[in-house]
Symmetry: C2
Subunit: 255 residues, 2 copies
């Protein structure tokens, strides 16, 4: 299995603190050492860092830790290979373009069967169940809507499709188009929303604390989503099996 990390905010925010804890699970505090990746949306643009090395020792992870990239939507993943070999092509998050927007997807869990891809518009490059599932989601969206529908229609449609995928195995996943971040929970996914009054946070995986009050504006709102809580002194909320949350401007909405 793997671990997921997501962030969705109302103002561009860096993820350095959360990532410092998260990356330690890739080979140091946990055994997810078969590659990792992180994608940052910046406006319509997206940058994606991938490495097949473990995140606790990867030079690219050092860079991401030190270079405060400000983003409103971030998805990261550290991999413990179960389906598909260790390779760059099998490293999450996966990225595709649909409706003139980039989309990022990362998945934790195994799908025992996969829905057939009907066309050839979105095809997996690697051999994971996760990338296949992502291509299927993109294909169903592209088939149903020639352009991006309004947000309620989009998220309701994705809830149904993710529900179908979840019947085939374990689907903890994060999906983003740079505006919203959608989280589907099957077994393990937690989140919290940081907003005023901000306080101290202390990492689980490293003895590091941060005082968010000194670093944030009074209207900032940051949602962090992770397989397991990243801090030990904040109130993480455990998502329920089958639950889907849409995060927008740092706020979760259940649909």
């Amino acid at each position: 299995m793997c671990q997921l990390l997501g962030m969705n905010c109302n103002v561009p925010t860096d993820i350095c603190f959360s990532f410092e804890g998260f990356r330690r699970r890739g080979g140091e505090t946990d055994h997810h050492a078969d590659g990792w990746g992180i994608g940052f949306f910046e406006g319509a643009g997206c940058r994606l860092f991938l490495d097949w090395q473990s995140s606790c020792s990867s030079p690219i992870a050092d860079l991401v830790r030190q270079y405060p990239i400000k983003s409103t939507n971030v998805i990261s993943h550290i991999r413990k290979a179960t389906v598909g070999q260790v390779s760059l092509a099998n490293t999450h998050p996966f990225m595709r373009e649909l409706w003139g927007r980039y989309w990022l997807f990362a998945h934790n869990g195994d799908l025992k069967s996969l829905p057939a891809l009907r066309g050839n518009r979105f095809q997996p490059v690697g051999d994971t169940d996760s990338e296949h599932a992502f291509c299927w989601l993109m294909e169903t969206l592209a088939t149903a809507f020639p352009t991006q529908p309004d947000m309620p229609t989009l998220t309701q449609f994705l809830k149904l499709r993710m529900g179908e995928l979840a019947e085939r195995g374990t689907l903890n996943c994060l999906l983003s188009n740079g505006t919203v971040l959608i989280a589907h929970c099957a077994t393990n996914l937690h989140y919290l929303v940081r907003q005023a009054p901000f306080g101290d946070a202390h990492l689980v995986d490293r003895d590091i604390s941060i005082d968010f009050d000194a670093l944030t504006g009074e209207h900032d709102r940051v949602a962090v989503i992770a397989t397991q809580p990243l801090t030990d002194n904040e109130a993480w909320i455990r998502m329920q099996p089958g639950e889907l949350l849409v995060f927008e401007d740092g706020q979760p909405r259940r649909i």
Copy 2:
């Protein structure tokens, strides 16, 4: 205008030396300071580093300079914005998936008009002429061939389509699917092939030399393509206007 750098080899090779000279042109030895990017194919996988900062001072460029990523196909680009604002979405190389393969594209030159995109399968995310041209190339390929055709058919088709684009303006560009690297020259593109007997190379943009004889195997073959020669003691070949070369296993083929 911008500057291009490409590499195609018969064995995975790092581009650290060439990149060290090239990156200096992004704000130090030349004025292409409006962002930069580099994409590396590793097997079917592809990693793409993008930054809107200038390549001479970007922390990501420092990483790429120091972390010897081995690849058989690399495309890099430093940007001097002419069409489209400075943003991550407008930073080359651009990436799309077609036929279950990633494709990378970078372009130097302005296109005065653009062919219409007929469908919505490949849509630009940013607002450059370059990304539009890339989407059009991908669309014409996807429309003509349901799966990847053989190499002669593919490259002949691309020569015709790139010829059509070149009638609309200036098209110096590099395109790769991870197997071949295709270079189209309109005004400025040079290349060389390094193979045994290897010798010394000295950068134009920094006083650094390298002895490739000490670092390479006797059967290694590395083609480097650049807008302007990167070294001052090697025999760079200037490509001709309208010329298209297909590089495979470090060897150029004119079609």
